[in-house]
Symmetry: C2
Subunit: 216 residues, 2 copies
């Protein structure tokens, strides 16, 4: 796979050695996450809204949110920034100054469009649902026409994209390595707990296997 071409807007200037434009790595980060933060502008004021998403080929499908209301009036498409962040650990250095986090993040810029074609929307929602819990679309009651209409999906082509990754141990100033201070990484991960069945569930239905759930 190839790379995204950095633009003036996606060229990482702060700590550029952490930047990557490699498509495979960008897609891997996007496929591990499931919550994005969508930024858009109304009357000069930025808004940042959390919502679900899924990558499908070279597009991000973003679950309808406040942004879709803006989009309806935008017509041509809405300038957005979609950011996905996975936190991997706390990096504890000997000096406070070199404390950091291990993380992987993707920033995608572009014009989002509202998905209006019913079949595209259905396909996007299928990806979206199965991204959260594998196979869930096939076992749940699928949306009817009215429900499809009531669900907003935005599509953002992945064109102007950058990723930033920090991994590995702390990097201290040479003279600090002799200090008697613990240093290293505290790994952070997500975990699914025991499923809590709904009160009105029919008897004899096995609980969902949590290994099917996305864990980021």
């Amino acid at each position: 796979m190839d790379s995204y071409t950095p633009t003036a807007r996606t060229q990482v200037r702060r700590l550029p050695k952490r930047a990557t434009y490699d498509k495979e790595q960008v897609h891997a980060i996007l496929d591990e996450g499931y919550i994005c933060h969508v930024g858009f502008v109304v009357d000069g004021q930025p808004f940042v809204i959390p919502t679900g998403y899924v990558r499908f080929g070279d597009q991000l499908y973003i679950h309808g949110s406040s942004a879709s209301r803006m989009l309806r009036s935008a017509g041509q498409g809405l300038d957005v920034c979609v950011t996905v962040t996975l936190v991997d650990g706390f990096v504890l250095a000997r000096s406070v100054f070199h404390h950091s986090m291990n993380y992987r993040s993707v920033v995608a810029l572009g014009k989002a469009r509202l998905v209006v074609d019913v079949e595209e929307k259905r396909a996007a929602l299928r990806c979206f649902t199965n991204h959260i819990v594998k196979g869930r679309w096939e076992e749940a009651r699928q949306p009817n026409e009215q429900e499809l209409k009531a669900t907003s999906v935005l599509a953002l082509p992945l064109e102007e994209v950058s990723a930033k990754v920090r991994a590995g141990p702390p990097i201290d100033d040479e003279e600090d390595y002799s200090m008697p201070i613990w240093a290293g990484v505290v790994p952070i991960r997500q975990q699914a707990g025991e499923p809590l069945p709904d009160d009105r569930i029919l008897p004899g239905i096995p609980a969902v296997d949590v290994r099917r759930a996305a864990l980021r």
Copy 2:
């Protein structure tokens, strides 16, 4: 404690029953998280950058990032949207349409200022460090003047703030409750793994107790 006053910009219009402006609840969400997504605008284009933060009284201190470069030129303060999102679980309904997530999020709007006073910056960084790992500021080598200068901290007064919370089981359409489909919540939580000591750590230094680490 009282409430934030909703403005035209923070009044939650989509699913307003999930909204809250209660200060205590807003602060509890902010104090549980440690990563925020900062939105700002450059030449009409929104940017959303993940970074660390801590709440201190009625201010958010945000760790220096790309936004601080923007801020230096902004002079008067930079219009930002700071969003913090905690995901609590996947909500699996009988119908795809009613699938959801349990989450708690805060959106804070306002003008961020660059912290220039050295003592304010030091106090903010102390809060920031101890928010990630309790007591870390006191055991690590604290920043010298040069390091303090090299660290950017933004401050955002908490004035125009809203929160959204979804909790509890799925809510299905009445006629779907008779379907033989598992429904309920898969709880999601963060967990700290075994600390990984740095290769060059001095012998005999006990590892950091992960119970001191923030877990969101």
